[in-house]
C-alpha cells in the first residue's frame, strides 16, 4: 500500500488558530501519513522560535465564549459578554484573555502549542515557510526554528499534487 499524504496551508497567526494545523498534522503523522505544512502570511508566526507572541482575541469574535477557568462551578459557567467597544478600549484586554485561555487549555489536558509543534517535528512532519512572506513581513531566517525549509507556491504544489488530503487553514 502506498503511503498516504496530507498537506496543510497554515495562514493564521493566533493562539486559537495555531491548534488545527498542529493537531491535524501530528495526528496524521501518527496514522502513518507523510505530512507537510506550508506556513504563509500570518501562519509564519507559528514557526517562530519565540511563540510567546501568539494571542487570542475575543474582539469581534462572537463565537468565542468568555468563561473563567477558576472558581466554583456556577462562576465558571458564566459567559462574560463584554461589548466590543469596551474590549477595544481596555488596555491589555487581549493579554488577559490569552492568559485565561492558556489556563483553560491547561485545565482541560489540552497540549500547548510548543508541545504540539515539537511532536510534529519528532514525527517528521515537514515544515515549509513561504519565502515571499518572510521578506514581505521583514523577518530573518534566524527568527524561525531550525529544520524549516523555505520555498514558494511551486514548492508547495510539488507535494500537494500527490496528496490524499489537502487543507487550507
Amino acid at each position: 500500500m502506498d503511503t498516504k499524504k496530507m498537506a496543510i496551508i497554515a495562514t493564521k497567526g493566533t493562539l486559537d488558530w495555531a491548534y488545527p494545523p498542529f493537531i491535524l498534522a501530528s495526528t496524521a503523522a501518527a496514522l502513518g501519513y507523510e505530512t507537510q505544512i506550508f506556513f504563509t502570511f500570518y501562519g509564519l508566526q507559528l514557526v517562530r522560535k519565540d511563540l510567546s507572541g501568539l494571542k487570542v482575541s475575543p474582539l469581534g469574535n462572537p463565537g468565542m465564549p468568555m468563561k473563567m477557568p477558576f472558581g466554583p462551578k456556577w462562576f465558571k459557567g458564566i459567559n462574560w459578554n463584554i461589548p466590543n467597544a469596551i474590549q477595544s478600549l481596555v488596555p491589555g484586554y487581549e493579554s488577559v484573555a490569552t492568559g485565561l485561555m492558556k489556563m483553560t487549555i491547561a485545565n482541560n489536558g489540552v497540549a500547548t502549542i510548543p508541545d504540539l509543534r515539537s511532536l510534529c517535528q519528532e514525527a517528521e512532519v515537514k515544515f515549509i515557510a513561504c519565502q515571499m512572506t518572510v521578506e514581505l513581513f521583514g523577518f530573518e531566517h534566524s527568527d524561525f526554528i531550525d529544520g524549516l525549509e523555505y520555498g514558494g507556491a511551486a514548492t508547495f504544489f510539488e507535494f500537494a499534487g500527490e496528496t490524499d488530503i489537502c487543507l487550507f487553514i
Partner: protein, 75 residues
C-alpha cells in the same frame, strides 16, 4: 487481559492520547499488547479509527466510572 506495556493517558485531551499511544506502540514488539487508560470520551471513537487505519488490532474497549480502558495489539 495480559498486556506488555501500560499507557496512562488519563487527563489528556485530543490528540494526545493517540500521539502517546503511537509512541508507546513503537516501544513494544509485533504481537505484543498495549493497555491504555483514558478519560477523554472522544478517545473511544479515536482509538477505533486509529486501529483501523494503522492495522494495529483493538482487542477491547471498556468504560467504568468515566474511565476508558483499551487493549491494543501491535501489528
Amino acid at each position: 487481559m495480559n498486556f506488555d506495556k501500560e499507557l496512562d493517558a488519563r487527563g489528556l485531551n485530543c490528540p494526545l492520547p493517540i500521539l502517546r499511544a503511537k509512541k508507546a506502540l513503537a516501544e513494544v514488539g509485533s504481537g505484543q499488547v498495549l493497555k491504555i487508560l483514558s478519560t477523554d470520551p472522544g478517545s473511544v471513537k479515536d482509538f477505533a479509527a486509529f486501529a483501523k487505519q494503522t492495522g494495529n488490532e483493538l482487542l477491547s474497549t471498556a468504560e467504568a466510572g468515566g474511565e476508558f480502558t483499551f487493549f491494543m495489539k501491535k501489528k
